[in-house]
Symmetry: C2
Subunit: 324 residues, 2 copies
């Protein structure tokens, strides 16, 4: 068994020396750039952990792990164009630093590179691994489109929201865990249990993100608290509040959805006051706990000794009690 620290170091070291191509430079420089912006490297580490869980050789999973990180960064590069995001991890986004055309085409090449890396597995699992990868990639694109659609819709149901975050965020976590398991030689049924673990954990993780944006400790959270409220983002909290609110509460919510204040804190506090009266935070935490429990049930159903499961279990628990 490898520790989380070992795996993170392996991923960081491998990414530090990885080359993606050099000519034409306009195509490959942005790839080096976005891949060097860092981040927690959560996804490749989780893929390696999934492989390690089933006693697989993590060296054999390393290319696929890097492939998942390349794929993830490809989606960030294209999403940043669509979201008109100026910054990514505090640095200019690729379409800002270069231009939109460069960000489109470099992203396309990253998608091809992710496929190449994903293929560096044994022949007997090549097809199942690529099937999972393609399924995942389609889901992520669908999730991004549904998320963009939500911006122009007045009402989004909780059910629709959960499905969106499942596609946009969670299927990738499920998919990469399944790939790690397949590389280790796990059976389809065991690999599917780990898929479910990853997917349900991903939904819980995204719900936690919604909660932290409003109630997190600003120092630990690392983002502007209340950012989602200020941008009227349709998070679980807002969707649930709009579902529950009637009369005066609903009027207040609608007022703030159509107004900004000179003092941003005024809007954040006003909306938080509505959330408090509707017990929206509690609803969000209950929903998050539901998906966390689903995740744990799938994990427990995997036929492995508790001792083998400890690293991944500890990591999952850490993920869900981040910055309160």
């Amino acid at each position: 068994m490898h520790s989380i620290t070992d795996l993170q170091q392996l991923v960081t070291k491998t990414l530090a020396t990885k080359k993606y191509g050099h000519d034409p430079i306009e195509l490959y420089e942005p790839i080096d750039y976005i891949m060097s912006l860092g981040g927690k490297r959560l996804r490749p580490c989780l893929l390696l952990m999934a492989c390690d869980l089933f006693g697989g050789d993590i060296e054999k999973a390393l290319s696929a792990a890097i492939g998942i990180e390349v794929f993830h960064n490809f989606t960030l590069m294209h999403d940043d164009i669509m979201d008109k995001a100026p910054l990514r991890r505090g640095k200019p986004t690729v379409h800002e630093k270069w231009d939109t055309n460069v960000a489109i085409l470099s992203g396309d090449v990253m998608m091809v590179e992710a496929n190449r890396l994903m293929m560096l597995v044994d022949d007997n699992i090549l097809r199942p691994v690529l099937d999972v990868f393609n399924e995942t990639a389609t889901g992520v694109c669908e999730g991004q489109q549904i998320d963009m659609n939500f911006e122009s819709r007045a009402i989004v149901s909780v059910h629709e929201y959960i499905n969106m975050i499942r596609l946009k965020t969670a299927v990738l976590l499920g998919g990469l865990m399944k790939i790690g398991a397949l590389i280790a030689g796990a059976s389809q049924s065991e690999a599917t249990l780990l898929y479910n673990f990853g997917e349900q954990l991903g939904i819980a993780f995204q719900l936690q993100d919604d909660i932290l944006d409003v109630y997190g400790d600003p120092e630990k959270f690392g983002k502007q608290v209340g950012g989602d409220i200020l941008s009227n983002k349709k998070t679980y909290l807002l969707i649930k509040a709009l579902e529950l609110a009637t009369g005066d509460m609903l009027a207040q919510l609608n007022y703030w959805l159509n107004h900004n204040s000179a003092d941003p804190a005024e809007k954040v506090n006003a909306v938080k006051a509505v959330y408090a009266r509707l017990d929206v935070r509690q609803a969000a935490e209950a929903e998050m706990n539901k998906y966390a429990r689903n995740a744990m049930q799938s994990f427990e159903a995997i036929h492995l000794p508790a001792e083998r499961k400890r690293v991944l279990m500890d990591f999952a628990e850490q993920l869900l009690i981040r910055e309160y």
Copy 2:
């Protein structure tokens, strides 16, 4: 052996009933749209012909053939954004009919779909087929970037230009023929000969396109004759002319590169007059014939009876004597 007409009908019929997905509709409607715009379906037909050449079962190559057409249309969808093209086959481009975000994300999903379709081959050739496909996809992206780079450069060499059209256009023709050959069970060396045939033919074909844009019969060519001259496009003809021209000839070329005329025909005729004095058309035809000969040499080296080769040979010859 199947006739060209048979294969075209099979491709058309298959594409007519092919579904790409339905939810969210914003993601899949543009795919149905661009795939329904038609075109000659040259690439899927050539893949099937390559399979047929080696006595393969064309039903087994049909998914890969459709996959190549999906991939080609994915590159068109993204290229049209980058080139700010308003029309594609006389209809609004996807980014015009919907918007840029839709064209980016639908294109991304098409790339995944192309991968899925490409995987519908027997296990024993899955890896070689995907290797060719990924190599091809990377080349096409590199070619598109190099082409965009040329727009802002004063001087481009003939060598650089040939490499650009090789990557942007010809590697796909080579790659799809190799894939068709592999599906038929051809050896790597025979499949590589067919790759070379396709790639060299693709270069000849693109050079012919440059020639036809200036010297083609407007009725048969179907595009505005002289369009490349009017847009100062760096074609083989212009690049060669800039290489050969000195003194007065060079001054005239540079004048027209920096001026437009109220009467477009004036500019076209003036540049054509320079081309005539520099024998640029002859140089282009000689270059085209060189690559056509290279293609035929590779084709002749394939160990198959002349009778088997006739359909593909006839088709290649038709391609290169289109609309004079």
